[in-house]
């Protein structure tokens, strides 16, 4: 029996030795320089707009590695602030750093633009409303126009919700969809909400993704089409989509889709962009970085990262009424716009 014991012990040790083997990996580390280096590398190789941002990313590397070298090891807040500052140089709302104690974000893409939205002014129009899913809706202008407000594409909606909203506007001559200050969410909701305005699928854009670490390593462009089959109900009367600079990401894509719908106009301010679809990855200390990795274009193959200009540019100047909603009402009531 003693001999068998030795055999068992020997084999168990062998198992443990093999099991403890680990191959190459990014090792866990809280060292500031290692984390800055890894973060810089992720953006350098995986972010899809390094060239378009017009910044010297190599110079950023040298600057921030030098700063990281001066940080105290273990000062996580200082390291976070340094990483966030480096990411902020990209001025991209899709670039964020997530740690257990904070999330970095950029406001550079909207903070120098007119707000073009006031919830108090909007409240003058959004009265006696109903809520279908996450769609707030009511009629305005003596019940002649339907008004829908959707605050986030992260909030769920369904084909049933849309059918109820459209059916309640059956006697209206036009529809306003207000997506101002909607920062985006699920792209699937953008396709769903745009579906009633298409009788057949149309090419509304293209996308391509990175295929390697080089700044120009991208796949071939692939077509993106609207999906008319997502909702049974259809709307073939005038529709005006309201936009401002805070329309970002999936909202930006929704507005891009609506540009190709029949009898649709975009009114308000230029959107914020965010055409790059974000992915995420981790750095050695376990924080997650989110960054744009898939580029999206409109049907003319123009990049929509920098935003989409409206068909009718309107900035809010009045203090007693919503100029953008008023302009939308005026456009719907003028039948010459829809011939």
């Amino acid at each position: 029996m003693k001999r068998f014991g030795h055999i068992i012990c020997g084999l168990a040790v062998m198992l443990m030795l093999i099991a403890c083997h680990t191959d190459e990996e990014m090792a866990y580390s809280t060292d500031p320089v290692e984390n800055i280096e890894a973060l810089w590398q992720i953006i350098d190789t995986r972010y899809c707009y390094v060239e378009e941002k017009g910044i010297d990313w190599n110079a950023i590397h040298d600057e921030y590695v030098a700063k990281a070298g001066k940080l105290k090891r273990g000062d996580q807040v200082a390291l976070f602030d340094l990483c966030a500052s480096m990411l902020d140089s990209l001025r991209d709302g899709h670039v964020n750093l997530y740690s257990p104690f904070d999330r970095s974000y950029s406001t550079a893409w909207y903070d120098t633009y007119p707000a073009n939205f006031s919830s108090s002014l909007q409240a003058q129009y959004l009265k006696d409303y109903r809520i279908a899913g996450s769609l707030y809706y009511c009629t305005i202008d003596h019940d002649s126009i339907g008004y829908v407000y959707y605050s986030s594409f992260s909030n769920s909606i369904s084909a049933g919700n849309i059918a109820w909203v459209l059916s309640s506007f059956r006697d209206c001559k036009g529809l306003i969809i207000d997506v101002r200050n909607n920062g985006g969410g699920a792209l699937t909701n953008a396709y769903l909400l745009s579906s009633p305005f298409f009788i057949e699928d149309k090419v509304i854009g293209y996308w391509n993704h990175k295929t390697g670490p080089g700044h120009h390593d991208f796949s071939e462009l692939e077509e993106l089409k609207s999906d008319a089959s997502l909702t049974g109900s259809k709307w073939q009367r005038p529709v005006v989509v309201l936009s401002n600079r805070r329309c970002y990401s999936a909202t930006n894509m929704f507005i891009n889709i609506m540009r190709y719908a029949d009898k649709a106009l975009i009114v308000g301010g230029t959107t914020g962009g965010g055409g790059g679809m974000p992915l995420s990855y981790e750095i050695p200390c376990g924080w997650t970085v989110r960054f744009s990795s898939v580029r999206m274009y409109d049907a003319e193959k123009k990049d929509i990262e920098q935003g989409i200009e409206p068909d009718v540019l309107v900035n809010m100047v009045s203090t007693d009424k919503d100029d953008i909603i008023e302009k939308a009402i005026e456009l719907i009531n003028d039948e010459t716009n829809w011939k």
Partner: protein
């Protein structure tokens, strides 16, 4: 992708359908629990580790005769074995800031030839083994890329040795089994593809795999104990899988404690009245 599903389906049919009538089967139902290490650079560059729990059913059956000892008392030299393994994992990164959940299913079947020495107490077997594996992992905190999949099918070499010995009231058998891949295929996802693009079709490379690009080793050391009314198995198992391309690298390494029970059964054939 359809081919992969068909191959996996066929293997499952093979595993399930091989229970021939009138033949004595040896069945081992095992529960596994242990520690594992995971590197999946599709989801994260950081290594994750954690615990897993799984259940595995393994059956053994001779070719050509009713029992492994047969009517003449001679051990059947050719026999076959099938396995179905289901395992769930839960792993954290070293910072414990993110969590991966995984589910793996593996099915396999093999045939082997047995040699015996030392008054039939020492047995050595060797043979080919077919295995199909499907694994899914979720890193929920990842934006637009939260899932990763393993898909692989391999022809493996299987070998083992067992030594039987006897106590006063109990018989024992010490087993060691090992399997390693020879040739097969695996699927490597396109690292750069996003979740939304996946919905329009999974892109990646289904490639021929072997020791040059895909290492799999699975082995188990176990002690079978035959008591008067039941037979039990305790042991330790280890598996190591390592494969990748220039963009992606996958490592799975796990150690399990194994506890199982063993029984023999025979499926009765329909008899004409």
């Amino acid at each position: 992708m359809k081919r992969v599903i068909i191959v996996i389906g066929l293997l499952f049919c093979l595993v399930g359908g091989a229970a021939a009538e009138g033949v004595e089967h040896t069945n081992v139902l095992k529960v596994k629990f242990g520690w594992n290490y995971q590197l999946d650079t599709y989801l994260s560059p950081l290594a994750y580790d954690g615990m897993h729990i799984g259940i595995e059913n393994e059956w053994w059956q001779p070719f050509r005769q009713d029992t492994r000892l047969g009517k003449t008392g001679q051990l059947a030299q050719w026999a076959h074995v099938g396995r179905l393994d289901l395992r769930g994992t839960r792993q954290f990164n070293s910072a414990r800031s993110n969590l991966i959940y995984g589910l793996d299913i593996t099915a396999g079947w093999g045939a082997f030839y047995t040699w015996q020495w030392c008054d039939k107490r020492l047995k050595v077997f060797l043979g080919p083994y077919l295995e199909a594996n499907f694994g899914a992992r979720e890193l929920a905190s990842n934006v637009n890329k939260p899932y990763s999949f393993d898909v692989a099918a391999d022809v493996m070499a299987m070998s083992g040795v067992s030594w039987s010995f006897y106590g006063k009231k109990t018989s024992y058998r010490l087993n060691y089994q090992i399997r390693t891949n020879l040739i097969g295929f695996d699927f490597m996802p396109d690292y750069w593809q996003s979740y939304y693009e996946l919905s329009e079709g999974v892109k990646g490379t289904a490639r021929c795999s072997g020791h040059w690009n895909h290492h799999t080793i699975k082995h188990e050391l176990a002690l079978d104990m035959q008591f008067p009314h039941s037979t039990w198995r305790v042991g330790a198992a280890h598996q190591y899988i390592n494969y990748g391309t220039k963009d992606l690298h996958f490592i799975h390494n796990e150690i399990s404690i194994v506890v199982g029970c063993i029984w023999n059964y025979r499926i009765k054939a329909n008899e004409k009245l």
